[in-house]
């Protein structure tokens, strides 16, 4: 499957963590780290 369709890429940058978490856009370093680490525990994707 085309990756852009699989992960519903309609805008970039888009970050996918462990195939379950989605982070849209660019974030400051601390915010990005918080998003990756907090949401990587199986939280619902945005």
């Amino acid at each position: 499957m085309d990756l852009s369709r699989r992960y519903r890429i309609t805008g970039v940058p888009k970050t996918i963590v462990n195939d379950t978490v989605e982070i849209l856009g660019g974030l400051p370093e601390s915010d990005f780290v918080d998003a990756v680490l907090q949401r990587a525990d199986g939280a619902s994707p945005s």
Partner: protein, 143 residues
């Protein structure tokens, strides 16, 4: 034809001057049946490698080099695997690093070539506490 202007080359050469470690860019491409992005990826990689004597491009055949594909987990082409002093940085680029993604490649090379994370101490501490695998994919160029 060179991708970079003489001024850009001068700027990037200075930016990459701190590199002290050998950086290998393993470039997996598929010449037969592959996309044109493989040719572009090679051109970009070669251009980056020309900026510092410690940066080298190692070409791999996506179809034939099956051992290396398995070793580095490469499942798409073109793919760029970044090694620092022979060690896998686990940084992968899929597709051609054109546009803004050229900068991403340059920064990845700088990271591999210096080992300098340039992250806040709090970030480094947070990441050191990670105890399970994390696969992070960043989509940066729409197809």
């Amino acid at each position: 034809m060179a991708l970079l202007s003489p001024q850009d080359r001068q700027t990037l050469t200075a930016h990459l001057a701190p590199i002290s470690r050998k950086v290998d860019l393993l470039l997996f491409t598929q010449t037969i049946g592959g996309s044109e992005s493989g040719l572009i990826a090679k051109q970009v990689a070669d251009e980056v490698a020309s900026l510092h004597e410690k940066i080298a491009v190692v070409e791999k055949n996506f179809v034939l080099d099956t051992d290396d594909r398995a070793k580095y987990g490469v499942d798409k082409a073109p793919a760029l695997v970044v090694l620092g002093d022979g060690a896998d940085t686990r940084i992968r680029f899929y597709g051609a690093n054109t546009g803004y993604e050229f900068v991403s490649l340059v920064e990845a090379v700088l990271l591999a070539g210096t080992g300098d994370l340039e992250l806040e101490p709090e970030t480094v501490a947070s990441l050191a506490a990670v105890d399970k695998p994390m696969h992070i994919q960043v989509f940066s160029t729409p197809t």
